[in-house]
């Protein structure tokens, strides 16, 4: 059996109290709970404070470009669907520069676990407004208050045909780990949007603020993640932010639809040149 330590490479150096510590811990717990070999786990990250995760986590990793974690992760998953592919992004990565990829991965239902570490600020670049920054908030780029209305990732995901839409809180590691674990087991694209305080650049959305503003859908009597209308209602609750597994649907995964034989991954195909077969194909040009 794996333990959290199986995935520990080095200790992180994020700011003391950063929500990413909780994410790091939850991800290790989820992987251990599913007994995933570190070699069978690939963590693909974007650019932002979350991108350091690869340096601390023991698993195959791909730290690519800002906003492009999803297409890289999709390529990996299709070439070897036996791998557990986890893509990690920040709110800028997922909902600003990479928004197109996010919606299309939902539409395609690619078998990725997608963690969006949402701290409502561009932290690595010292604190500019992000697409989830609250209206009116003063940041480095919005000294007179943000004039942009924030967008909500899980709501977008629901509209785009997402089949696993969850929201966690990095202050509740055990709960978050269980969401990630379920997301990893989900057939298709699993979004886990993570409310994650930035202790340095976002003094508004702190641990205490979130604790006051969240509610768990599990605690709502009669709530079922299979009910899309209820999910929509939960996501649009006034004043309060819904956390937990908000929606779970059923749709074939992209790799199921695209790959002819998932037991024979592209990664392990024999590329030997079959000259007679290719010759027959060429004959159509005669």
């Amino acid at each position: 059996m794996k333990t959290k330590e199986s995935y520990h490479r080095v200790s992180p150096t994020w700011c003391k109290g950063c929500g990413l510590f909780g994410v790091f811990d939850a991800l290790k717990r989820a992987a251990a709970a599913l007994d995933i070999e570190p070699e069978d786990l690939v963590i693909v990250t974007g650019i932002g404070c979350h991108g350091r995760l690869n340096n601390y986590f023991r698993a195959y990793g791909f730290h690519g470009l800002h906003g492009r974690a999803i297409p890289v992760a999709t390529g990996i998953k299709l070439v070897n669907p036996r791998l557990q592919v986890v893509a990690v992004s920040g709110d800028g990565d997922a909902y600003s520069i990479g928004l197109g990829h996010f919606l299309h991965a939902l539409r395609k239902n690619v078998g990725l676990t997608y963690l969006v570490v949402d701290n409502r600020i561009f932290a690595l670049t010292e604190g500019q407004a992000s697409p989830t920054t609250e209206f009116g908030m003063v940041t480095l780029s919005t000294p007179f208050g943000s004039k942009d209305f924030p967008i909500d990732g899980p709501s977008l995901a629901l509209a785009a045909g997402g089949t696993f839409i969850a929201r966690g809180f990095s202050g509740e590691v055990a709960h978050l780990a269980s969401l990630i674990e379920r997301g990893m087991k989900h057939n298709g694209f699993a979004l886990i949007n993570i409310l994650s305080p930035c202790v340095t650049h976002n003094k508004v959305n702190s641990y205490d603020w979130y604790k006051k503003h969240i509610f768990h859908v599990e605690d709502v009597p009669g709530y079922s993640p299979k009910d899309k209308a209820r999910a929509w209602e939960a996501l649009n609750s006034p004043e309060k932010i819904a956390v937990g597994l908000i929606y779970e649907g059923d749709k074939p995964s992209f790799e199921e639809l695209v790959l002819t034989d998932r037991e024979r991954p592209i990664a392990s195909l024999n590329l030997k040149v079959d000259a007679p077969r290719l010759g027959k194909i060429m004959d159509r040009f005669r």
Binding site: H63, V79, N80
Partner: protein
């Protein structure tokens, strides 16, 4: 007997010009002729003028000629538009509908046959669409082609998709056209073709040849976004890759295409994408990532006319320097430029080996003229293909290694690779500057070493790179330098100059980067007048030569930035003028 022929089919988009041209090209090929086709079509589905030229010759040809021998026009406007291109003794077939006589000074010596193609098609076969096959039948009579071969091609085209009844009806229409032509056209007005056996050859487009090359080379992951004129690579591969266990994915944009191909390659696939114009600009971001993370990938870029959206259905060579010097930061890349459809295949096969061996992006740079048009080439040889995955380890070797370093500072700059799921091979593919294991490292000394490691990868690559090819006379004062599909017009120009007692040679560059400086330097030293022939405005290749060969002889540019590829006379003219 006719040994060389240029036929144009012209009409409105939606008239079936493409179909008619494709059938004619195949028909002439089956009579043993060498073929080059050229389409000029609008970026529009219906209503605007379009034309399709089939250049055919009993001897090997690579490009178009300056004149048309036969024009098959489905509308009157096409006749007026193309009359000046028709040879003095040329033949014009036209639909009688809406006929207005062209000015007599333009028609002198040219033979006009007015066929009521549409009306005949309607009367005899119930639908106007049969006019195309009727016309092909009539052309077969004029050129003395074998009607059975035409029947065979019609059957190949329709049987699977439309069934026997459609084949029968079309065959009847073709025969009808043949007989009708017999009634109208005098024996003396025919142009019987010389014939030879259809030896071991194929008729293929550059895009299809790239697709076939990719398939043969073991490409098993293809991601792309629709764009003219590169989509045919994908539309061809999509029929075959799944059967070979691979995947073809349509992405949301070209940013995703290249990133996805990089993910696929990282996980172990031979991966590829294709694009053109604006798509290539979007790929510039991930191009740099491939360089930094040292991930093999092949990018086929079929150039079209720019800038911006430009003219999506017109050919151009204006994106050369973008791939050689483009994207942020400095990293090694290889840029290949096939000049024939055979080279489209061979260089694509080679591209995958180069990408794996040097762990860098490899670009196959062609143009619309090469990509979408059809040319004959000798049958492709698959038996000699060798798959070389370079320093990709295998799981057993990896287990035996004391310490695996993905970005090891190897003497040749090329480090071993492992794939996800392999034990003892855990590493990070990192877009930040990194240490030998792939983890972020901002140490100045490490940065210097890593930069040098990457940049020295191609130092010893030249034996693996396709060298330039010299065409034409062995000794000549006039030298041409070019790449890609201008080859056809340059070779025609060399022949025309030879007839005028001006011997000339052509240095065809097939690898644009790393730049073959030694060969170019030697060619420059051996030539008195050098003309760099390019289908662009600013002479990108000439700029490249000047930057890589120093001191550099004077280079004259022959440039064409119009919507149409070079004709031979556009090359011959400037050479002759410069010698006066």
């Amino acid at each position: 007997m006719i040994r060389d022929l240029a036929v144009m089919i012209a009409g409105k988009a939606g008239d079936g010009v493409l179909f008619t041209g494709n059938v004619l090209a195949k028909l002439l090929k089956r009579h043993g002729w060498e073929i080059v086709t050229s389409r000029d079509f609008p970026s529009n589905i219906r209503g605007e003028s379009t034309c399709y030229t089939v250049r055919a010759s009993l001897d090997k040809v690579y490009g178009l000629s300056d004149q048309l021998d036969i024009l098959l026009a489905f509308d009157c406007e096409s006749i007026l538009a193309h009359l000046p291109e028709i040879a003095a003794n040329g033949i014009v077939f036209c639909d009688g509908q809406g006929w207005t006589a062209p000015p007599p000074e333009q028609t002198q010596g040219k033979m006009f046959h007015r066929f009521s193609l549409r009306a005949l098609a309607r009367e005899q076969f119930g639908q106007e669409i049969f006019k195309n096959v009727i016309a092909l039948g009539a052309l077969s009579y004029v050129l003395d082609l074998d009607p059975a071969l035409l029947d065979g091609i019609i059957s190949e085209m329709f049987l699977r998709r439309k069934g026997e009844e459609v084949v029968r009806k079309n065959v009847r229409a073709a025969r009808f056209g043949y007989e009708k032509a017999k009634e109208i056209i005098a024996e003396s007005e025919r142009r019987p073709l010389a014939k030879k056996a259809d030896a071991d050859r194929i008729l293929i487009s550059g895009d299809e040849a790239i697709g076939l090359g990719a398939l043969a080379a073991g490409c098993r992951y293809f991601a792309a976004y629709p764009i003219c004129p590169a989509s045919e690579i994908w539309q061809w591969l999509v029929h075959y890759l799944p059967d070979f266990g691979g995947a073809v994915v349509q992405t949301e944009d070209e940013l995703a295409s290249l990133n996805m191909a990089l993910g696929a390659s990282f996980a172990g696939a031979r991966a590829m994408t294709s694009t053109s114009g604006p798509g290539a600009s979007l790929m510039m971001e991930a191009f740099s990532l491939a360089g930094m993370a040292e991930i093999p990938v092949v990018i086929a870029h079929v150039q079209r006319l720019g800038p911006a959206t430009g003219m999506p259905t017109k050919s151009q060579q204006g994106d050369v320097l973008q791939w050689i010097f483009g994207s942020h930061g400095e990293f090694p890349r290889i840029v290949l430029a096939p000049g024939t459809v055979g080279e489209c295949f061979e260089l694509t096969v080679g591209a995958f080996n180069l990408a794996d061996k040097y762990q860098c992006p490899v670009i196959i740079l062609t143009e619309l003229d090469m990509g979408q048009n059809f040319r004959t080439t000798r049958a492709l040889d698959f038996s000699g293909i060798r798959i070389d995955r370079g320093k990709l380890l295998n799981p057993e070797d990896l287990l035996g290694m004391a310490e695996f370093k993905r970005y090891e500072l190897a003497a040749d700059g090329i480090s071993p690779r492992s794939l996800p799921s392999w034990k003892n091979g855990v590493h990070l593919a990192e877009s930040l500057e990194h240490d030998e294991k792939g983890y972020r490292d901002e140490d100045p000394l490490n940065r210097r070493r890593m930069m040098e490691k990457r940049m020295r990868k191609l130092d010893q690559a030249s034996p693996d790179l396709c060298p330039p090819q010299v065409w034409g006379c062995q000794k000549a004062e006039v030298g041409f330098i070019g790449f890609g599909s201008t080859l056809g017009a340059i070779l025609e120009a060399i022949e025309q100059l030879r007839v005028k007692s001006v011997p000339s040679r052509f240095l065809q560059l097939r690898t644009l980067w790393p730049f073959p400086a030694a060969e170019v330097r030697q060619f420059l030293a051996e030539s008195r007048d050098v003309f760099v022939v390019e289908h662009n405005f600013s002479g990108e290749l000439a700029t490249l030569i000047k930057s890589q060969v120093s001191p550099c002889a004077e280079l004259k540019n022959i440039l064409n930035y119009s919507t149409l590829p070079f004709t031979p006379k556009e090359i011959v003219g400037p050479v002759l003028r410069s010698r006066r």
